[in-house]
Amino acid sequence: MAPPAQSQRSPSPSQPSGKGEVSDLKLQLRQHAGSRAPGADDAKRELFKKVISYMTIGIDVSSLFGEMVMCSVTSDIVLKKMCYLYVGNYAKGNPDLALLTINFLQKDCKDEDPMIRGLALRSLCSLRVANLVEYLVGPLGSGLKDSNSYVRTVAASAVLKLYHISASTCVDADFPAILKHLMLNDQDTQVVANCLSSLQEIWSSEASTSEEASREREALLSKPVIYYFLNRIKEFSEWAQCLVLELVANYVPSDNSEIFDIMNLLEDRLQHANGAVVLATIKVFLQLTLSMADVHQQVYERIKAPLLTLVSSGSQEQSYAVLSHLHLLVMRAPILFSSDYKHFYCQYNEPSYVKKLKLEMLTAVANESNTYEIVTELCEYAANVDIPIARESIRAVGKIALQQYDVNAIVDRLLQFLEMEKDYVTAETLVLVKDLLRKYPQWSHDCIAVVGNISSKNVQEPKAKAALIWMLGEYSQDMHDAPYVLESVVDNWDDEHSAEVRLHLLTAVLKCFLKRPPETQKALGAALAAGLADFHQDVHDRALFYYRLLQYNVSVAERVVNPPKQAVSVFADTQSSEVKDRIFDEFNSLSVVYQKPSYMFTDKEHRGPFEFSDELGSLSIGADSADNVVPAQRVEANDKDLLLSTSEKEESRGATNNGSAYNAPMYDGTSMPTGASQLQSELAISNTMVPSHSPSSSLAVDDLLGLGVPLAPASPPPPPPLKLNEKAVLDPGTFQQKWRQLPISLSQDYSMSPQGVAALTRPQAFLRHMQGHSIHCIASGGQAPNFKFFFFAQKAEEPSTFLVECIINTSSAKGQIKIKADDQNRSLSLSLSAQLNIGIPQRHVTLQPNTPLSINPLQKPKPAKRARTEEIKNMGFVLRVLSVAKRGLRPRLVLIPCRSQRLFCDKPLVSNPLLIKLLQESISRIKTVLDSEDNFTFKSSDFSWDILLTTLKSSSPAKAHLVLEWRLEKMVRDNERDLVPYLELIFLCSKVQNVPFAMRVFNSMEAHGIKLTSSVFNALIYTCLSSGNVMTALSLFEIMQSSENCKPNSETYNTFISVYSNLGNDKAMQAWYLAQKGAGFSADLRTYESLISGCVRSRNFDCADRFYEEMMLSGIMPNGQILENILRGLCEQRSISKVEQLLKFMMDGEWEINVSMAEKLMGLYFEHGTVEKMEELLLNLMNSNQSFAVLQQVHCGIIRMHAMLDRLDDMEYSVGRMLKQGMSFRCPDDIEKVVCAYFRREAYERLDLFLGHIKGSYKLTKSTYDLLVAGYRRAGLSEKLDLVMDGMKLAGFF
């Protein structure tokens, strides 16, 4: 219809000539304004097009507004749309003229054509002019009720537009409620989707001021709503599906079966071609299974393939977004991806941002089995045309070397890099070699030989030069011409621009001098002279220091500069695990691409509807003077740190306050709950205990931070260390400004006691408490579980101000305090933090029946002063343990090899008539069945509650719970007084991870007056820990510490140690070990078992060896488990000589060697390619009467080895020997290796013989048959092929 625009004067719309054109257009538009002539519409279209093209390229055509509106009276829909676009763009700047458009838009909203109604409504609400909102309500209301779904779709998002123009108009017209109704009832899914997105935005922003809105927002996550969406998910468009999935990811299911239902329902979404849908689904899966370690791991396995497919399909940009997420997962669980390393190889034409990610992944997944190939690949990239990538690749090689895999080969590679003679390659390599030597000094000999050949003139980059100089100094005794090289560098002192290099040079020359004085003397003199004359402060000072040191005493200098060095075992990780967890929580968002949590790059107001930080962002302020300032700030949205929004309620309350410029919020007592007085008293009590007035308490905090300040002697408490101004005044503007400018002087994380959490349900009480300490609140906000407060305090008699941000999450009972201060003195901030102290886990906690942990202030007399110091010391220790332990809080992958968690297990391992009966019965009849069951069943020796419960739990947790309940009831009925059955019951709870029930058992023990012992607590702690509830476990531990009869014993510590060992968190584990020692318990066999297996698990072999030695020294004999772990560690370190030693020890001590040990050994020998060792081992084992399976393992290993090397004769000999001893192959893998060897050597006859031999003792598997088929087919041996086929048929594989 539209004729091509050939006959125009301006050749291209992108080159307008400016003002003249616009006024020209104005004239033309006027001419056509009222015209109804045929063809007028076409002419108008051309004109409109021009106007819009000007608008696009940024020429201001707002002066045409009037003319455009006049021309818009038309029935031509294309013209209408162009006009709407224009009006939408300029109305905001011309509110008066915009009024002109209202008329025709309103008319169009009532048009017959639903298309026009929709378009008009959309444009009407897009005008963004505040004084026109009154005209919007009517059309919008009828639009929501329109019979046409297109109009309703438009109206649903138009409500949101209205909300952004005038929130009050929108809420007053009750639009959110209408939207909610539509969302839950409309037939059209796009209408539903738009309602959902509008409501999410509206309620999130309303939630700060209206409780109802926050309730509504919570209701979006309620089960019926979530299920409503999930059941319809396939009807939604792919984009709306993303919206729904994002919502579901925040849903907290009530039990595991619900989780599996949701995952099953969504599983096919993983095969969607739209990457956004797949990632959103993955997020749901990951979030749902966070608490189920093994299922979580299965999720990883399941999502791997779809992610890889997405990476390789779609555009470069799309695959980058997916790759970033894959990167995150790989970094979290490298082990799970270690066999997929080939997918992370870089391709020549990939952009560098993709290559960078891939290099990091390759580095992460490197392990003993793939290192060789990965490093080979990385070495290829070192010659890459793209220099930054070449550098990254070399660094990656170095990182792998530092991870301890196959260092041997890598060092050779690195040294080869040095021979490439490319400046940047040499530079990067030198830095790496330096780091490598710091970790593995044993390589110095090889490295130094090569490094010595590098001319320092070819190394220009400061970092590389510094590294070279460091090596020259450190190894000057091994490098022949080190003194002369250093001398020549010193000669060029003035040309050396980098201070870092000069600093290193000074140190290196001195080191060299101390080793080879006569040769270096000249260089040292020159270096010191140059250093003293250096303009750089550090260089000058170091030169001076060395000079004086040498003057004072050369041997002291030697001790200072050249002490024996310890190898560095671990290099620091750059990103804290908290940050990593935060990013993981924000899966499928930009946080993953930027590799930072969202608070680091978004303004608070722009965070998503359900993000943690968003809730913190909605703050209310209680200042009467602020109401003029604050709304402006909100609209301007230019603030990065704070959003202070005004709640009307607070305002009116504030107004009654007083006339002062600013005051902290006051709350009238009527709004307090009935239990307020009780709360108050609790807070008052915690007041005396929270160390607000005691100096030693702030020292405890010091201690926590490792500042090492000695404890003050017990003396009457001096006045508070920090006197605060009770009537401090600060206006919000200043606060905001200061908060933005000042650096954080102190940031601390706290764990809170349950009663502290309880108190926070009424933040007002908390605020009052703070005010009692002259710490004033300036803004607060958030709903459960997240609260955020901003406080300020002023020092008495000084203008110095402290600003405090306090974030509390009540569900995890954790808090974070950030303090900023005018006075940068850190200790002041520290004492303030002590004063602020909101609820460090309390010591005086007793367990009471029927209530969860709660404080009971009346029972406990005030502790004596001595005891108090003691307690404080204790607390420091507990906090230290806590802070270490906290890092292990999140479920990590590679978790507990849970014996109890067999969730996906399909068959019960032990068939037990009772179990089968229980599985079939309905839930309501469980107890009856148990009652009716004969008592003998439970007493018989092969009956195990353990197995019964774990199996039962995998199919129905509710039934398992009932069984437990039944047992408890029975014990109560029988009036059981013995401790043992109860203990047993608590242990059973740990099997099914039912902490609440364990607590119930505990309560009923107390109720029956059974004397509590440490072992009861130990059992409880074990239950908590094995259910992943670390906080409760720690609280229990504290209770034990403060109790009289149930002090923690060695067993308690062992429990913690073993759990952290299973979690692979060796830092926390060692912290607990130290705590155990500190508490005066010596480690026993079990401790060492946990410690060693934990160290080996986290690949900290040095520690494992150390613990082993320690254990041997203390006279404890190892058990099989320990030996296995040590062996594993040694095998992974590839130290064959140590392995031999250990083996000898085991043989001598007649230890049993088990199958997995044998496997490890064979793996090690296999890698070293030493058949002789294998034979030796076999002989030894045969002599020491080891088990059948172990021997078989070794036999197979030998055969495999020969097969791999194509040594057919040796192989056949070994096979024959094995068969003679009555053993046969263990797995098809070994047979296939043998078959492949035959194929490679084309020895088909011998293959037949071999197969004939083993036929009697081993049944071939399908894969072996497949292999044979493939091999014969390739060789073209059709007869044999047929034979094999027959064999397969006989074996029933067809």
């Binding site: 539209a2 719309p13 093209s53 696009t56 829909i77 749309k81 162009m82 763009n89 998002s157 738009n194 997105s197 468009s237 984009w239 993303c242 994002e246 993983l270 095969q271 071609a273 956004a276 990632l279 779809p306 890889l308 497919t309 390789s312 399909s313 779609g314 555009s315 470069q316 799309q318 695959s319 970033s324 020549y348 034409n349 952009p351 941002y353 080979t376 290829e380 010659a383 045309v385 793209d386 930054p388 990538i389 021979e419 490439m420 499928n588 930009l590 930027y594 969202s598 790059f601 303004d603 722009h606 998503g608 993000e611 949205a637 990065k640 497949d1266 292999l1267 493939a1270 091999g1271 087919r1273």
Partner: protein, 443 residues
């Protein structure tokens, strides 16, 4: 949610610019363009598709030399936005037939109309060409395809495109044919990206096929289409890799590592007879993406040999052998090889009697390019290139050249043997296979 969407030309002009929420300050297009253009100068290679400047997140994809950009201040899903940008480009292409700067400038009003319906207040409404048809009233102004430089297979090497552009299909989905008739046609392209790494002795070290079955339907009345894939197709590699010695023409089990499907595809009978059922929506879309690491026989075998010939000279010999039956012919073959950075001059020598060959040395990025019009199955072609260097060689020259990559189109052939047949009475079906091989030769 998205705040703004705009399309920039290669020079940074706004071609379309739409602000949905008014949250991002003015001048974002300039800020974006400056950042992308000068990214390299900071030594970090290309600008990543997502970055943040002053709290504003910029997303972009490059399509046909144009930058499709979205901005937002919210922490959204990057996949969602990038996918959307790609989808917007595809919808526009469906409408205009050809997507380039020229066609976009001529049709910007139509594009605005589309954008109005695709996104509302930052939330995606629909990206289906089919659905959009009922809301869009502008007629596309068709740009003459003949005047355009062809987007041959070489365009695959253009930055930002990993995938071949859909081959011959450059007709608008909505525009009427000259003469008012509409042909009942459906185009099915199988595009396979083949990556192979050979060891120095000629063994295949790694091989992977990333494939897409792409469809563009011009059928009226939305008939149901059935695609029958290779019956012996299995998905997911349960076991370890087994030897597979079948030739590519014979039948045998095809094992895909994984695949995904367009939402219009019904998989009801897929498990039984490997048939996909779908009602193809208007416009171009991928029916299925798949990934395969099973061993296969690549359609071409490439040999590259570099020999030093004195201190400043070397010779490259490239040999391409077509390993498919002689009944089949491959078209528009393009072979490329990066040469050492110090190469200054290259002279080429073709076999006597070679026709339809083009050779070129791209000075700017030091790349050798060799184009062949067609290769008949079973034939072999050789190119000799004499290189002159500006500096003396040291070290291993083979490390600094390569890898060799090639693109080609072979009608009625695919390397993965994932055959498909479509069944649709009364419609013309076009079927095409486009491949792209990247070979790393010097391991």
């Amino acid at each position: 949610m998205i705040s703004q969407f705009f399309v920039l030309s290669q020079r940074g002009d706004n071609i379309v610019f739409r602000d949905y929420r008014g949250e991002v300050p003015k001048g974002s297009a300039e800020i974006f363009f400056r950042k992308v253009k000068f990214w390299k100068e900071d030594g970090e290679g290309d600008a990543p598709p997502v970055f943040n400047v002053d709290g504003v997140n910029y997303f972009h994809v490059k399509v046909a030399g144009l930058l499709f950009v979205a901005t937002t201040r919210v922490n959204v899903s990057p996949s969602l936005v990038l996918e959307l940008l790609q989808r917007i480009a595809r919808v526009i292409k469906d409408y205009l037939g050809i997507l380039n700067e020229d066609s976009l400038r001529k049709n910007f009003v139509l594009v605005y109309e589309l954008l109005d319906e695709v996104i509302d207040f930052g939330y995606v409404q629909t990206t289906s060409t089919e659905v959009l048809k009922s809301y869009v009233f502008n007629e596309p102004i068709v740009v003459d395809a003949a005047r355009l430089p062809t987007l041959g297979p070489a365009s695959i090497f253009m930055q930002g495109t990993k995938r071949m552009p859909g081959t011959a299909v450059t007709k608008s989905v909505v525009a009427n044919e000259p003469g008012g008739r509409k042909r009942e046609e459906i185009f099915v392209d199988i595009i396979e990206k083949i990556s192979v790494t050979f060891s120095s002795s000629g063994y295949i070290l790694t091989s992977e096929i990333d494939g897409t079955i792409q469809m563009k339907s011009y059928l009226t009345g939305n008939p149901e289409i059935r695609l029958a894939l290779n019956e012996e197709l299995s998905i997911g590699r349960g076991g370890r890799s087994i030897y597979d010695y079948n030739s590519s023409t014979g039948s045998g089990t095809v094992i895909l590592d994984d695949c995904n499907f367009h939402e219009s595809v019904h998989l009801d009978s897929f498990d039984i007879d490997r048939t996909l059922t779908l009602v193809p929506p208007d416009g171009e879309f991928p029916v299925m993406n798949y990934r395969m690491t099973q061993e296969f026989k690549p359609p071409f075998r490439i040999n590259a040999l570099i020999e030093e010939a004195g201190a400043l000279r070397a010779e490259v010999i490239l040999k391409v052998r077509a390993e498919f039956p002689s009944s089949i012919t491959a078209n528009t073959i393009q072979v490329q090889m990066p040469l050492p950075p110090y190469t200054t001059r290259v002279s080429f020598e073709l076999e006597p009697g070679a026709v339809g060959n083009t050779t070129d040395f791209k000075e700017a990025n030091k790349r050798l390019e060799w184009g062949l019009k067609k290769i008949v199955g079973g034939s072999e072609h050789t190119l000799r290139a004499k290189l002159t260097f500006s500096q003396e060689l040291h070290g291993n020259i083979t490390r600094e050249a390569g890898p060799v990559s090639m693109t080609f189109t072979i009608p009625m052939y695919n390397a993965s043997r994932l055959q498909e047949f479509q069944w649709n009475p009364g419609a013309t079906a076009h079927r095409n296979v486009t491949g792209f091989i990247a070979l790393n030769l010097f391991h």
